[in-house]
């Protein structure tokens, strides 16, 4: 983007669900932005609201119907103020989604080629021949060997990794400006995961896409992310550049998350405790109940304001308020120096 405005700018995004047990706030007033050609990773445990946050962008939040508030500016337009038909032009075309489970995202009654053509023809008035040529081209681009003959195969004739490639081809049909990838490699083998990550990287370079990548795998994050957003219980705990977050995580939650990595902290017991009840989130910091450093100030008021702890790195923790001593938290960082002598280096 030449202008100062980012490709996607999300402000005060709040997604609530009405359930039998009352209102459930899955995403609670979060902000973030994605630029063209940039990869932003949202990390956090399951149930932290990462998926709902990304689905709220194009309002595809599943049942029970979620109610999305705030503002989602995409290339200058507010997606949340758009009508459904207007949004449909953007969804799957300028903003594309890839989901975790390719099996569920495809219709197994139709050939994969037909499904890619359909994705294109919904948005643009192109002839069957043109659509077919484009679909074959895309299949070829994502590395499906023999694209033109595989065009007429059904999803069950593809392996998991190939299906995910087909999903990516389908997502690329409109040369999207923003690709939202929700755990696209979690269900795949490491070797295939490596291929898919490399593919996304190449495609990003080629199309200058912004990528919003949701994952819980910090190894993947380290490989692809430019910036990281750490979510917990519907709130952003910390954000910053990938090196900042890995080198000196500022929020106790991020520190614990990194500690769970076998190669870094070796804490195989996981983070004790559970996510708070989304129907009735606690006062103060959402992570207070599981944090080692909790003080009284953590349990009152709202989630602390995000404070800039390093240039470009912000954390939402009371310790970084002027009245508190942040060295307690900063000391926690020492434990998380990456130790690269483990698995990772066994390859050379």
């Amino acid at each position: 983007m030449s202008t100062a405005e980012p490709l996607l700018e999300v402000e005060d995004l709040t997604t609530t669900f009405s359930t039998d047990d009352g209102e459930l706030m899955a995403v609670d007033g979060i902000d973030f932005s994605v630029d063209s050609g940039e990869t932003v990773c949202i990390v956090g445990e399951s149930g932290s609201g990462k998926t709902v946050a990304t689905e709220s962008i194009t309002r595809i939040v599943k049942s029970p119907p979620g109610h999305v508030e705030g503002s989602v500016r995409f290339k200058g337009q507010d997606l949340l103020e758009m009508s459904e038909p207007e949004l449909r032009d953007i969804r799957g075309y300028e903003i594309a989604h890839i989901f975790q489970n390719p099996q569920e995202a495809m219709n197994h009654c139709y050939t994969v080629g037909w499904q890619i053509m359909e994705a294109l023809q919904i948005h643009r008035d192109v002839s069957n021949e043109e659509a077919r040529a484009k679909a074959v081209d895309l299949l070829d681009k994502v590395g499906i060997a023999n694209a033109s003959s595989r065009f007429d195969d059904h999803p069950h004739e593809f392996s998991g990794g190939q299906k995910q490639r087909v999903m990516i081809a389908m997502a690329l049909v409109g040369d999207p400006d923003l690709l939202i990838a929700d755990e696209p490699t979690t269900a795949l083998d490491v070797t295939v995961q490596a291929q898919i990550l490399r593919l996304l990287d190449d495609l990003q370079e080629e199309f200058d896409m912004g990528i919003l990548f949701v994952t819980h795998d910090l190894g993947v994050v380290a490989e692809i992310a430019d910036r990281i957003i750490v979510m917990y219980a519907g709130k952003v705990m910390e954000r910053g550049g990938v090196l900042d977050i890995f080198d000196h995580p500022a929020h106790p939650y991020t520190q614990q998350l990194l500690n769970c990595l076998p190669d870094i902290g070796g804490n195989t017991g996981g983070i004790p405790g559970k996510l708070p009840d989304p129907h009735d989130p606690p006062d103060g910091c959402r992570f207070a109940a599981r944090c080692d450093h909790t003080i009284d100030a953590c349990r009152t008021g709202q989630q602390p304001e995000e404070v800039e702890v390093n240039p470009g790195q912000k954390a939402s923790c009371v310790y970084y308020r002027p009245a508190h001593d942040d060295s307690v938290i900063r000391d926690g960082i020492q434990n998380t120096e990456p130790d690269t002598t483990e698995v990772g280096s066994a390859d050379d």
């Binding site: 070829d140 083998d189 490491v190 295939v192 992310a225 090196l243 017991g269 698995v343």
Partner: protein, 444 residues
Amino acid sequence: MTEEPLLSVRDLKKHYPIKKGLFNRQVGAAKAVDGISFDIGRGETLGLVGESGCGKSTAATSIIRLEEPTSGEVIFNGRDRSKGSTNADGVHSNDITNFSDRELKAFRRDAQMIFQDPSSSFDPRVKVGSSVAEMLQVHGMSDRRRRRKIVENLLERVGLSASDYDRYPHEFSGGQKQRIALARALVLNPDLIVADEPVSALDVSIQAEILTLIKDLQAEFDLSLLFISHDMSVIKKVCDRVAVMYLGEIVEIGPTDRVFADPQHPYTEALLSAIPTPDPRSTAKGIELKGTVPSPTDPPSGCRFHTRCHRVIQPEGLDIDQSNWRGLLTLRDRLVAGAIDVESMRENLGVAEDSDGTGIRSQLRTEFDLEDQLSDAKAETALKNALDRVVDGDSEGAGEVLTSEFTTPCEETVPDRTRHADDHESACLLHDREGVVTPAAADD
């Protein structure tokens, strides 16, 4: 291992017939598991790792006879079967593959399985406590109160509470359901648990909890585990020994530390290097395995990994850059398979720019990692010849040229297992060069 292993698998095979036509004639077989052998000692955890489609799960289900194995022996010495012996007709008395229905039911008490997806392994309309207790009932415990007591006790052991007995599966999270699945596997006090990807459907933070629980319970109940996973980091955490599978065969087996620190088979090496390192500074790109696992219906000859191996051996007399060699073989295989579409390449390039085929030649060289000029003159001539044929639209002929010129010992010789050190074995010709049959330069 001096003492008798709990489970010995010998040359186990599971082939799925492929039938075709009006009379359902068998036209081939998908060799999902093709002759694997290993032992699991008492209290030991053996990991089975490999890409999807390599036959890990089929191996598991065939071992506990959820599916009938095609051939091979599975000797199980659990409970009071320890003094088994081979009968006159050559059948071992503890061979699971020959168990009668009654023996099999008894065996099912001693070996349990945990599946990947905890959500689909419980009946949504049955209380979880009853799901667990059903096992006791099936195996003859008729006292309802005693059943309940055992199950409540066990639920607490796996980190839930006794009152969870009366709740339904949907009230639990994935991790909790996997705890219940563990309780169900343990309720009959088995000797062996086969866990098929037990944590891959779970979140990382929960994975760690479940793995710790599995380790604790294993120590407490003196269990043997066959632990199947595609995730090397999970294997590293829980397994004593690990067996790496590729296309129905075990290519490397050994103590987990040894295999991770010093992988002997190129496939293991590639698998390990594909693990993303949680270090944003590491720029080392892993070894890239191109393509997917070949079809088990028609596995490659010789070493099954040779079609993707980055260390594939060069024939005697040839010494070019390894990535060039790999590229040559890949090009050859793709040409033979008819997978290179010159017409569409030409279309993409634009006919005007590529009247003499230079564009296609250089594109093929780039795509297959081939230098502009191979260091070996003879090889370069052959490659040029082949590329000329490709440009002329004779892909088949080009394939033939490369096939006659370039062969690798890896596709001709089935590697034997080489023993490295304490139980560490791998099946790769690199360790077995003396046994290599030197191929003639022009074979056919």
